[in-house]
């Protein structure tokens, strides 16, 4: 995974709560078997509306999405994260993320930063009053800078460390292969196995 330390880019105000993953990427796009090439799928229903924020200059060149509370609810589809990244987003700011979406983001190097709703409201105003305003998100200091506003954000320490170092989870876990094997050796025999098939 690519390291993430700091990012600066155009902020996109998305004044909506409960942006579920079916909106971020409708199910019809989940039929693909690849991990990339989802940029056209991002918010595809909403993008058919000309007034949608991503159809407006300069927001169509944005890379920091600023959304309402409960972003990424619903389906576990990691495609939602892939679509945001493929479009060009590196950061999503919200006062609350759905657990699975936040986890998926952390695995893929998309920073899901939790910002207080009062600060989200201030950032929305700034972005609407001055379209094209750049937002800087610094993972070292855990701060968001937008115009004159400098706000803190929250992220769990483990995800932050992995993002800063660009570490791959599977590689980290396999360093403890001996402990996994030791655990397996003492699992109770009544636990089920899928093989051999029983009818």
């Amino acid at each position: 995974m690519e390291k993430f330390t700091s990012h600066t880019g155009i902020g996109v105000p998305l004044r909506q709560s409960n942006v579920d993953t079916d909106q971020i990427i409708p199910a019809v796009f989940l039929k693909r078997v690849t991990r990339t090439g989802f940029e056209d799928a991002l918010f595809s229903s909403w993008r058919k509306d000309e007034s949608f924020i991503l159809n407006q200059e300069p927001f169509n060149r944005g890379s920091v999405l600023v959304a309402g509370p409960d972003f990424g609810t619903g389906s576990s589809r990691e495609h939602a994260v892939w679509a945001l990244k493929d479009y060009g987003f590196r950061v999503v700011l919200s006062s609350r993320f759905a657990d699975i979406f936040r986890g998926n983001s952390g695995k893929q190097g998309l920073l899901a930063a939790v910002v207080a709703q009062d600060d989200v409201e201030l950032i929305w105003k700034e972005l609407e009053n001055h379209p094209g305003t750049q937002i800087t998100v610094d993972l070292e200091s855990k701060t968001v800078t937008c115009g004159n506003l400098v706000a803190p954000f929250e992220i769990d320490d483990y995800t932050r460390w992995r993002l800063l170092e660009g570490l791959d989870d599977i590689g980290l876990t396999l360093q403890h292969e001996d402990e996994i094997a030791a655990y397996e050796a003492k699992r109770p025999s009544f636990k089920p196995t899928t093989l051999p098939v029983r009818n």
Binding site: S17, S45, D169, E179, E184, T194
Partner: protein
């Protein structure tokens, strides 16, 4: 201090305790796989040259893309067909047990696991699907995961996880006739909101929960994710054991006895403390239905569409306004005046034999509203066979409903079963998101018996709105 059910299951699976804010490494007992969220994970293993660690703890089925008509013909949509073929090739290459379309154990992954007896108390169960929470009904810790985590489990049979908080959802009392477990969970979500369970594992308890069948408990745990929770659980009891006993992969003989002895320890201790508690009175509950575009936007069926200005929070107001525009509903409209075009009985929430029986009992001897189409999609090929053995297929066909093959179907419309733009649906599924059941489609989440009553009257209805069954139909084997 005592421990909660969730904490007991967690503790029993810690391979390695996380130090200094690091997550615990948890062992995963069962990994369920389907065609949509696995291809990129298999590809990841291949690219890294990693083997699948435990194919004997992995099982796959085809459900999201599968057609519910003409299943003996090639899948018409080439991208759906490619995804199914990719799963088949991957399962062959990595030696994964697969129940493909046409197999008698094929079906929605969350119906298949319990049906095979693979879903058991005290297990950790994951799947690349958010409704994996369903399996918590057995006292398992069951979570939906993303594709990166699917690959992680394939490679290591573990997941690094941060401990969750625990929330007790206590439901006391007795449900009235016509009120079901779907109404309980819709009421819970309306009460705590779509983010209310975020960071928590929910444990459903109380006399009303204990009285529920396994199918009904699965419906509740299934929708825990709709309250934002990572998992939902019910402590195992005699109802659980009776459901499991004799299923193909349930323990047998001495193993069964050893398992039951362990399972009996899987309950929250009297002196355990939950991080949060919510109470619900089952006696007061009415059939519940959603009016908006998230599962928290629901009311009792006897109530009206709310006025967005009645919400205190500005975000909730804005969300309600947007939802009513999308749903084409005016504030103050009685829910029972809302006319639907389609009724969908199916999905991992409500497609089990008990759900089909409950709906069939309502429609038996009655006529469908001629302007309504009704789709009945059993959760698995086995459920379909069992329903046919009881003659339920004939009840649905006589009523004018379409009797389909098993799969996720119109819950998310990845196969041809979709709503047309503007079409309105009473659906026993789990999500009323914009466009979920088809672009521009409008969804009202309901229980199976409300779905059945709605198909009869054409407007959102409860079984208590129906008159007596016409006498002429009384010969068709109706039982009271």
């Amino acid at each position: 201090m005592g421990r909660t059910l969730a904490e007991k299951v967690w503790d029993a699976h810690v391979v390695r305790k996380g130090e200094a804010g690091q997550p615990d490494l948890l062992y995963i007992d069962l990994h369920l796989v389907h065609e949509v969220t696995s291809p990129q994970a298999f590809e990841g293993l291949r690219l890294a040259g990693r083997p699948l660690r435990r194919r004997d703890l992995t099982v796959a089925t085809e459900d999201h893309n599968t057609p519910t008509l003409d299943i003996d013909r090639p899948i018409a949509d080439p991208t759906s067909r490619t995804q199914i073929e990719t799963l088949r090739a991957n399962c062959k290459e990595f030696g994964v047990r697969l129940h493909p379309l046409g197999d008698k154990e094929q079906g929605i992954v969350h119906v298949v696991g319990p049906q095979l007896g693979l879903t058991q108390p005290g297990l950790t169960i994951v799947c690349g699907d958010s409704h994996t929470s369903t399996h918590g009904a057995f006292g398992a810790l069951a979570m939906g995961i993303g594709t990166s985590e699917v690959e992680h489990v394939m490679a290591t049979q573990t997941l690094p996880l941060k401990p969750f908080k625990t929330m007790a959802i206590t439901v006391e009392g007795k449900l009235r006739p016509g009120v079901s477990s779907k109404d309980i969970i819709l009421a819970v979500i309306a009460k705590i909101g779509t983010g209310g369970g975020q960071g928590y594992v929910l444990e459903y308890r109380g006399s009303a929960i204990r009285a529920l069948s396994m199918e009904a408990r699965m419906t509740i745990c299934n929708m825990s994710i709709e309250a934002g929770a990572r998992a939902g659980m019910v402590a195992p009891d005699e109802t659980t054991y009776a459901f499991m006993k004799g299923r193909p992969h349930a323990p047998q003989g001495e193993e069964w006895d050893a398992a039951v002895e362990y399972w009996n320890t899987l309950h929250t201790d009297d002196d355990a403390v939950f991080d949060a508690e919510v109470f619900l009175d089952a006696n007061e509950l009415e059939p519940f239905v959603t009016w908006g575009t998230n599962p928290g936007q629901g009311v009792s069926l006897s109530q009206s569409v709310p006025d967005p200005d009645s919400f205190a929070d500005e975000n909730a107001k804005a969300a309600a306004r947007r939802a009513l525009t999308y749903m084409d509903l005016a504030p103050g409209t009685p829910m029972k005046d809302i006319r639907v075009d389609t009724v969908f009985l199916g999905s991992c929430t409500n497609s089990r034999l008990e759900d089909l029986r409950a709906a069939a009992e309502i429609i038996r001897g009655r006529q469908k509203d001629p302007n309504v189409r009704m789709l009945v999609v059993p959760g698995s090929a086995r459920v379909r066979l069992e329903a046919e053995a009881e003659g339920l297929d004939q009840v649905f066909k006589d009523f004018g409903a379409e009797w389909r093959f098993a799969g996720c179907s119109m819950c998310l419309g990845m196969n041809p079963d979709q709503l047309a733009p503007g079409e309105r649906c009473a659906s026993t599924s789990n999500r009323n998101f914009e466009g979920r059941q088809g672009k521009g489609g409008r969804t009202h989440l309901v229980s199976p018996v409300v779905a059945a009553a709605t198909a009869i009257r054409g407007t959102l209805s409860s079984p208590s709105d129906l008159g007596a069954v016409p006498a002429a139909a009384g010969t068709s084997g109706h039982s009271a």
